[in-house]
Amino acid sequence: MELYHGALDVKEIFNRWLEEENASNYGAYIPFVGTIRAEDNIEALSFDIYEPVLQSWFDSWVKKAESRGAKVKMAHAIGDVPVHTSSYISAVFSPKRRVALELIDEFVEDFKANAPIWKYDVIDGKRIYAEDRSTPMSGSGLLS
């Protein structure tokens, strides 16, 4: 798991991950690259991350992938990420195509629902919590 301040260097990350698994004999490599769209007059998105829980979440996915013969990787930005640059890359490596296609879908969807990351629109230099696009993590409401 890799965290960066500001936008990701997508090429460097993609290329390095490719090289890291060059000799691992995986048949399928599926990265997912998330890029900030220009919409609603935003200048950037901004992210807070709670790293200890993100690391546990990621570690559990490493084990889940291993049990299916696969490997997962991810990188995410902290702080401001301007429009048309990238905040998120995840990837699956697997011997088999079907496992890779299923895993990238599950991994990205669970990331959206349960990775402890908070998103803010940046408009006129102000940081506004993206409440309407945010999802309560599983187990929410315990203290209410």
């Binding site: 998330g34 992210f47 807070d48 991350i49 709670y50 200890p52 829980v53 546990s56 995410h76 905040s87 998120y88 990205v108 990331f111 959206k112 629902a113 349960n114 990775a115 402890p116 990351i117 908070w118 998103k119 803010y120 919590y129 993206a130 409440e131 696009r133 945010s134 999802t135 309560p136 993590m137 599983s138 187990g139 929410s140 409401g141 315990l142 203290l143 209410s144």
Partner: protein, 73 residues
């Protein structure tokens, strides 16, 4: 004393409170105006481990984290 920290957009400094279980934390937080409206949609971690157990026993020095709705990517 346990520490209660509020993550992401919740505008509240870390609190120190007396609590023997998470239920005690719930009772205390429900009394705080800036925090109570968040509780319904927040998940909870104790010492960085997510939990669903309101009866979880807390020890002095434990850290309770309050995690509001997320949106990575």
């Amino acid at each position: 004393m346990v520490k209660v920290e509020f993550l992401g957009p919740i505008n509240q400094e870390t609190l120190e409170i007396e609590a023997k279980t998470l239920a005690d934390v719930a009772n205390a937080l429900q009394e705080i105006e800036t925090v109570s409206s968040w509780l319904e949609k927040c998940a909870v971690a104790v010492n960085d481990e997510m939990t669903n157990d309101l009866n979880k026993v807390l020890n002095s020095g434990d850290r309770v984290s309050i995690l509001p709705p997320v949106c990575g990517g």
